[in-house]
């Protein structure tokens, strides 16, 4: 590309009239094929495009600094393992040894025998109620049988 053509392209670049391909071509010309490096127009174009590159670098650098250092990842994994382990051990311990606790009017009872006694007392009440209902059903059936017997 000769100098007038290059000037024309630079002017169009500054006027934002260039296409993407033309910008690529200009960048390539400025980077590799500069015929007149002392030309102020070309120098200005180089400075603007160089500035563009310079401005991108700090962004790349800052992205690097943003990514967490390796010790942070290790710490995060360690915390995850500790939390998981403590949850698991709690559940496993609870499943193996189990819980045996009662509250009577807000007062905690952890004595196993006392708690089991309360548990069986509840079940006994259910048994009594169930027996009463069964007896009641049996009585009703007997009454029906008696009436049917009288009818026969």
């Amino acid at each position: 590309m000769n100098t007038p053509e290059l000037h024309n392209l630079i002017e169009r670049y500054f006027n934002a009239d260039t296409s993407l391909d033309e910008e690529r071509l200009l960048r390539r010309e400025l980077a590799t094929g500069i015929n007149n490096p002392d030309d102020p127009v070309i120098q200005e174009a180089c400075a603007v495009m160089g500035l563009h590159v310079i401005r991108r670098k700090p962004a790349a650098i800052s992205r690097k600094t943003v990514s967490p250092p390796i010790w942070r990842n290790v710490a995060a994994v360690a915390v995850a393992i500790a939390v998981t382990g403590s949850l698991l051990s709690g559940v496993i311990r609870q499943q193996s040894t189990g819980e045996c606790v009662a509250y009577v009017n807000g007062q905690r009872i952890s004595d196993r025998d006392a708690v089991m006694k309360l548990m069986f007392a509840d079940l006994n009440e259910m048994e009594e109620a169930s027996n009463c209902i069964e007896a009641s059903i049996t009585n009703e059936l007997h009454e029906i049988a008696d009436i049917m017997g009288q009818l026969e």
Binding site: V66, S67, P68, R72, N73, A76, V77, V79, A80, V83, T84, L87, L88, V91, Q94, Q95, S96, T97, G98, E99, C100, V101, A102, Y103, V104, N105, G106, R112, V115, M116, L118, M119, D122, L123, N124, E125, M126, E127, A129, S130, N131, I133
Partner: protein, 157 residues
């Protein structure tokens, strides 16, 4: 500040969160049921009512072939009894089988075989003895490998 937004920081925590989601429901087996609030801590310290709550899990229940036993008995709180009856009726409607006795239009006794959770059967008992001159209402939730006939034998032994 931007470091906290980095999704890489969250990666190690994801398995922990997932595990928590799996384990917490296991610890609260009756979760999602209408009777769940009656086994909460708040009910144990309810003012103006005599409440007895029992929670037994693990090896203490090995002989019964159960993994979870929870019960709550309430005396002197008719509104709580009504709430319990409503909750039991609601959960009982979804039960696989039920043995129910009513008195004066209210639920007096109920034995419900609920839909199993995984490989474990689940049962619910309810007894409102205030309807027959008593003073107590009892709700029991049980879970384990014990089959319905074993539960029947257990309360009849």
């Amino acid at each position: 500040m931007p470091q906290s937004r980095n999704p890489d920081n969250m990666k190690p925590l994801i398995p922990t969160l997932l595990l928590t989601l799996v384990l917490v429901p296991a610890a609260r087996a009756q979760e999602g049921m209408a009777i769940e609030p009656f086994f909460d801590d708040g009910i144990k310290h309810r003012p103006g009512a005599e409440v007895t709550a029992v929670s037994v899990t693990g090896k203490q229940l090995q002989n019964s072939n159960l993994s979870i036993y929870r019960s709550v008995s309430v005396t002197g709180d008719p509104s709580l009894t009504q709430d319990m009856e409503r909750a039991v009726t609601r959960d009982g409607a979804k039960a696989e089988s039920r043995e129910v006795s009513l008195k004066d239009g209210h639920l007096y006794f109920g034995f419900y075989t609920l839909i199993p959770q995984g490989k474990e059967y689940r049962y619910m008992f309810y007894l409102n003895s205030t309807l027959t001159g008593g003073s107590k209402t009892t709700l029991i939730y049980m879970q384990g490998k014990a089959e319905p006939y074993e539960i029947r034998n257990m309360i009849k032994r």
